[in-house]
Structure formats: structure tokens, C-alpha cells
Amino acid sequence: MTALVTALCLVAVLAAPAGAADPVVEATLDNGLRVLLLEDHRNPIVSFQVWYRVGSRNEHPGATGIAHFLEHLMFKGTPTYGRGQYGRLVEENGGRNNAFTSRDVTSYFVDIAADKVDRVIALEADRMRHLLLDPAEIAAERQVVMEERRTRTEDDPDGFLAEETSALAFLSHPYRLPVIGWTVDIRRITPPEIRAFYDTYYVPNNALVVAAGDFHAAGLLEKITRAFGAIPRGADPPPVLAVEPPQAGERRVTVHRDAQLPIVYIAYHVPNSRSEDAPALEVLSTVLSGGRASRLYTQLVRDRQLALGAGGDYSYYSVDPNLFWFWANPMPGQTPEALEQALLGEMVRLKAEPVSEEELARAKNQIEASFVFQEDSVHSRASLLARFEVIGGFRLKDEFVPKIRAVTAEQLRRAATTYFPDSGKNVGILIPKS
């Protein structure tokens, strides 16, 4: 009993109170690998994640989807752990593993019982540099990726329109490219190109290891150093030089395809977290679509009953400046034109009058609470550290809530005026084919 009480007290002491800085152990190995470790002893589990700073942002026309294709191939074996071994070893040890590719990063994660983490470290260190990339495996996986594209894009009206609208919004920056790649590119990409991409970007100096859970940081760091430390530093990957030029006028795409209801997207170019306007844009996004008391829900969904759903999403964590998306799904009988006008009407209002004190306070409270809710799982704790590390350093996480707290209603109004001009619209409309 005494032991149990002591254990509980320890847990309480170790758990960071809301808003306090995470007690992160950080290191940069000689080969450039960044390591962030966060002890959390509430449950006997560990979330072990490897993030590579590469995504569709690093791709070029004609070879789109290569970062995501490679992500699939990371499960296809090395000389040490052959085909299927990775998944088998993780699952046999009761672990959950998956990966995702975004515009900015490719992330691999395993959530597993704490006493099994050594195996995961060995597997991740091995596949950072030793993939087989067997052409026969690539050929089979190409078909799987094609199926994934069909599911996410060809047969999904939302995915289809989002792809068209992104491609419209950017002239120069690779954010115009779909993460999964264009169909013709997925079909064409060759094994040597994939190998070259792997050799360029899967190097320790382009990667981040982040773990949260039931371990002792010093001991885990030693194990990570032993497993990853011998991997030679690679050449620095080429920087992404593209800068999106200012938008000169409204752009619009209308897609007619099989669907039940129309979709309306309106996207504007906005700065990312590096801008001092970023906290205001983040709060604005929550004012617009954080819950049923939000602007777009109360106006478009509840009161006017124009939309089945509507929202506004900001890209705070984007590595390069990205888009602020407004979206609406018209109710049956409502036209996309009516929804577009309704969304634009909300923008006029945002520019004309400051949001109420209640709206502002609610949005701030929602953002702050969501941070606390994320503390509940080691997986989300590790992911959040990684997201901040990717955009400039994990300590930015500690500054985030204070920055949100400092936002004023006037800053929201100014941000709306600055970033949502009529000439900056990128409009995507999907009209169901009858």
C-alpha cells in the first residue's frame, strides 16, 4: 500500500501541470540527428516516433508522390529485417505502428509496451539507411498506392476538389502538388528515382527522433545514440527555394462530377507561424469553426440553415506559408453560389467589426484546453513536440498559449482585412453531375 501511494505521488509530481514547460531532454548527435525525449510514467507504454523533414514540399512536377511512395516502401524490408519483418516484429510485441506523409514531413510511429522499445529503436535505425527497395516490391506497392489514390481522391468528392483547389492556389510553390501524387507520376516513378530520393532525405541530419512515455531519458538517449549514432551524416538536403508570388486576382475552378451535394472551398494565402499575425489567424480559425457556438456554425448551419457543415482552417504549423481554407457543404436545395456569398458575407463582417469579447475569450479557452487534452496521451505529447520542432524548435510550444492569450479583437479584424482580400480568393466549387 505504501508503495502504491508513493508511486501515485511520483506520478503527480512528474506530470507537468497545464501550461508549464515540458521537461524535455534534448540532444543533437554528432551525425546531426535531433532527439527529444519526454518522460511520462502514467502508463507502461512509449510512443517512439521518427520524423523526416521531407514531404511533397520537396517534390517536383513529373515526380509527385515520391515522398509518400517511399513511405510505403519503408515497410518493405532491409537486408537485416526482410520483407514483412518490420510489421511482424512490432505487432508480435503488441505494438501499433503506422506512418503518414504530409506536405512538410514524413512521420513513422510506434506505440508499444515500455519494455519492448529496444526492438523498435533497432528497427528504426536500420531502415533509416538500409532499405532494400527491391524493384519487384516497388512494382506491387505501386498498385497499392494507386488504390490509395482512388480511395482518397478519385472516388472522394472532398479529396478531389481539395486537390484541384490547391493546384489552383499556388503558381510556384510545391504546395500545389498533391501529397499522394498525380496518377501519371505514381505510374511512372522509377526505382532509381526512389533510391535517389531516399539517399537524399533519409539521413540523420534531416531526421528527428521523439519519444514520450515510460522510460528514463538518460538511458533511452544512450540506446538511441548507440543505434543511430553510427549512421554517417549525409549531405544537407537541397533547400526548397520556391516562394509563392503575390496573387494578382481571383482564381476559380468548377468541377462537375458524381456527388450527392455541392462543396464550396475558398482559400487565401496566409503567413505561417513565423509571422506575428499567426496567433491572430489561429484564434480566427477557432472563432470561425471551433464548435457549435462558432461563427460559421451559428450563422450558416444553425440560423440560416444553408449548410450541413462549414468551417475555416488555418495552417499554423506549415513549414512555408500556406492557405487559410473556408469550406461549406450546402444543404439540399441550396446552391454553391449562395454558400459562397454567405462565406464572403462572414468575411465582410470580420473586416468591419471586431469579434465580441465572448467570442474571443471562448476561442482562446478552447485552444488552451485542447493543449491540456493533448497531454492525456503519450502519442499526442510526442507528436506535438515534433510539430513544433519541425517549424523551428520544440520550445516554441511553451510560447504558443501565451501568444494566443495576447491576441486582441482588433488584431483579428486586421488579419481578416489583410489576408482575405477579394482579389486573393481561390475558389473551388464542386457541382454534382445530374
Binding site: G309, A361, I367
Partner: protein, 456 residues
Amino acid sequence: MTVPTHGLTLGYIMAQMTMARRLALLPLLLLMPGAAVAAPLARREVLPNGIVLLVAERPAVPIVAVRAYFRAGSAFDPPDAPGLANLTARLLTRGTATRTGADIDRAIEFVGGSLESDASRDGITVSLAVLKKDLSLGLDLLADVVRRPSFPEPELARTRKQIQAGIQRSEENPEAVAGRELMRLVYLGHPYGHPADGTRESVGGLTREQVVGYYAEHVRPDAAIIAVVGAVTLDEARKEILARCGDWARPTSPPPAVPTGSATSAPEASTIARTLSQTTVAMGRRAIRQDQPDYFPLVVASYILGGGTNSRLFFRVREERGLAYGVYSYVSPGRYGSAEVVGLRTRTAEATKALDIARAEMARIAREPVGAHELDAAKAYLIGGFPLHLDTSAKVANFLVGVEEQGLGLDYADRFREGIARVTAADVQRAAQRYLLPEAFAVVTVGTPAPVSGAR
């Protein structure tokens, strides 16, 4: 950063990510292997009016998750009013004797919390998530919506239209379309056979009088489970729940039962035409309840067949032939019945081939005993992953409600581990012979009937 949103979310844009693996969303209770749990997961008490209170203390993070669950899901829908449970559930938060729906939204969202209500086949669930400091407010709102909903007519008209539009929009999603048709065939004549949302037509006909009647009959303390999980003690939780629900009188009549009668399963084939580049295939049949001894062998058999990235279906259909991104099998248990489901999605020209492979693997696992290594690996995964499934207060709360609702006992985690550990290759084969032979499955395909050539 995202905060809780309602209605439709824009997953594609928000995440702009795409994943290597796509695994079936396994039902919670399937994935509840046991662990070496020294102390019971939660404390259980039955309050004088019949409410079952389950409390798990998780003091480290200052948040509390609450589930108020009522045995009142769509299985209780009157035969002529599919969707009534769901409409009733959705309206709980849309107004009470003293608060409008908008008041409730503003109050809970002002503190960064959420209060949601919905219906599944078995139950209506009201879910609360709040910071610890706002627990009192959250429980006030939760008690108000479950005890004093006013079902305002304008909110009803609006919600009805929203549900109808949601059903219409889901017709774009081939997996939703296939799932609905499959459940109809698997649960012919059974209360699980109709979708919880109802149909566009049935929802259009639902009246306030029906909603009020349904609420009065089904949402009651003696059909309730309340789980409180997080930074709260048992004494505190009991006191707070009793203060708000202790005087909720139990009706004199016993809670209604679900008529499960003479339901049959139809091994029929059903094709739904849609202009799509892929064909979605869903197969299903009735299986066994979670409290039956053969449930554990069936869980292992389903896992080996199509439960993860080591499964036979994943290897044969996806890894070897590149025929699918998603392919899976799982047991879907419910209080009043369970189903075995196998599914995949592939380019239309290859649908027949993929389906043939899936069927051959179903037949093979019934014909040949599984290998020792394959069996051990499956059991290790099912047993070893336990802590991952209970790593947040919300997950623990859902688990507690599920365990109580299925009558499995708070030691179910331990018994699951023991039950899985005991499964032999012969057990797996016996379960497969009973529940995985392809001939007994209903088959639904959604897609372009005639094979078409690839995507654009």
C-alpha cells in the same frame, strides 16, 4: 491546432496527409486484451435509482471524461420509426427547461469543453469532456440535458433536416453505402438491420410526440451507466452524480427489452451501382456474442485472417498482388448480436479476383490449422497491446461503458488475456469452420457493375 468541431470536418485539408497503412477500425471491445492489471480498472456502484456508476481515477492530467449511457439505441426504434433513437439523442443537447441549445453550446465551449450526444445500435451516449476546474459546470449541463430536455419544435425541424442531409451525403461514401446494405442482409428481421440514422424518408416522418415518448420510455436511471474518468476521486464523483441525478426517480415499469426474435441471416449477393473507379466489397454473417466461450478463438481467427499488417488477407491481397489499399476482417460485437465482417476495396477490373482470393483465404483458415508461429504472434499482439487501448481518459470511459453494457465484468481485461492465451490452433480452426466459411456470408458490392479501365 484543432479544437472540437461539429458537423463535417475537412479531414483531407486539415491533415493533408496520407498514410502507409489503412487498417480496419476495430471495435473497441475486440481490442481489449488483458494486461497485468494489479488493481481493478475502476470502481463500480449501483445507485439507489439504478444508475450504474463507474469511476476510474487518473489524477495526472487535469481533465475529466464522462459518459452517460442509456440502453436506448436504435435497436429500440419502433419498426415504423427507424431513426427515432438517433433523433432523440441528437436533440438532448438542443434545449432544456432552462437553457436553449445555443446556451448549452456557449456554456460548454466557453470553457473549452465539449458535450455531445448520439445514438449507436445499443445505446444513447452523452459525452462530456472538460478541464477538471470546470467539472461542476460540465456535470450541471450533462444532468440538465439528460433529465430535462425540452425538444423545441424548431430545433427538431432543423435537426431532422441535418440528419437527412447527412444521410444523403453519406451516399457518396461507398463504404457507408456497403455497410448499410450489409447490416440489412446480416440482420434481416433483427433490430440491428436498419441504420441507426434511419432513412431520409423515415426521419422526415418523425414527430415531436414520438421523440418525447421515446425519451420518457427509454432515457431513465435504471437503464443508465455513468462512467467518470480522470482527475476525480470516487467519493467526489459519487457526490457530484448523486447531487444531480440522485433524485431521478426510477419508473415503475421495467425497462423495455429488444425483440430479437426469429432473425435470420441471408447469404445473398447484393450489388449497388455507383460510378466509381473502385469496387467496394463487404461480406458479413452473424457470429457469436462476446460472452460466449468461442468468442476468443473467433477473435484470434479474425485477426490472423485480416486483422492487421501481418494478416493473411493483407499479405495475399495487398502485399503480394497490390490489389487493395484497405483489406480487413473483424468481429463486430453488440449486446444483441454480433457479426463477422470481411471487406476490401479495389479497382473495378480486379474486384472479382480480389474477392476470390479473400474467399479462398476464408476457406483455407477453416480447412488447415494455423501455424504455431502465426498463432503465437497473433496472441502476443492481442494480449500485449492492452495498455495502448486505455491510455486516455476518454478511451477508459468508453471501455468501462462497453464492459458494463456487455455484462463482461470489470475484470474483463484479465479474462480476455487468459481467454486469448488459452486459444489453440484447433480452437481457431473450429471457430473458422463455424464462422468464416465464405458460403455463409452475404456479399455486397458497390461500384460500376461492368469492369472499367483504371482511373483517369
